[in-house]
Symmetry: C2
Subunit: 105 residues, 2 copies
């Protein structure tokens, strides 16, 4: 068993969102992104098999998708997307996001 | 893209912890467990390949392992365990846990 606390191991920056690699194995990759209000993970996709979960740990914003589509994002929201499907996030308040990618990229 | 809010879709019960299936696909299975203070997910394991992440969304307690081992658990903690390695959780306060299993059981 391994344990990490992403509240302690990651912080926020006025410059850009902060990215922390929590875990990487043949099974999944887990990342934490911290956004200050207004910061954005731009819409992106990769043409490979697999899915990604985006979990809003705290904060509010929007999930971003293909063709300018957006969905409200708040604490407790889980978005599931194919890795090949465009996805991103824009923070309205400071926001902690947990991302799990399986299989890992 | 699919979205679910586990703060809204799951609740707490005095009888036992409440389990919500958030997502199940060939890539991963995502569950939310809500524990009232004192409730416990008993130590268990399955003799199969893969890993599980246990993320404490809010609350305090202990991660449980083999032979009575325990580790403190609090908001922001991520525990990674092989599926075949004994793991569990006991809540000291009301606690929301997010569990991801890859590949899915």
């Amino acid at each position: 068993m391994e344990k990490i606390n992403f509240y302690e191991a990651n912080d926020f920056s006025e410059n850009t969102f902060k990215r922390l690699l929590i875990h990487d194995s043949p099974y999944f990759k887990i990342l934490n992104f911290n956004f200050k209000a207004g910061q954005e993970l731009p819409v992106h996709s990769h043409d490979i098999e697999g899915q990604v979960s985006l979990v809003v740990i705290e904060g509010e914003g929007e999930f971003l998708g293909r063709d300018g589509v957006s969905l409200p994002a708040k604490t407790g929201d889980v978005l599931i997307s194919d890795i090949s499907e465009p996805h991103g996030l824009k923070a309205k308040t400071d926001l902690r996001l947990l991302v799990t990618i399986a299989p890992p990229i």
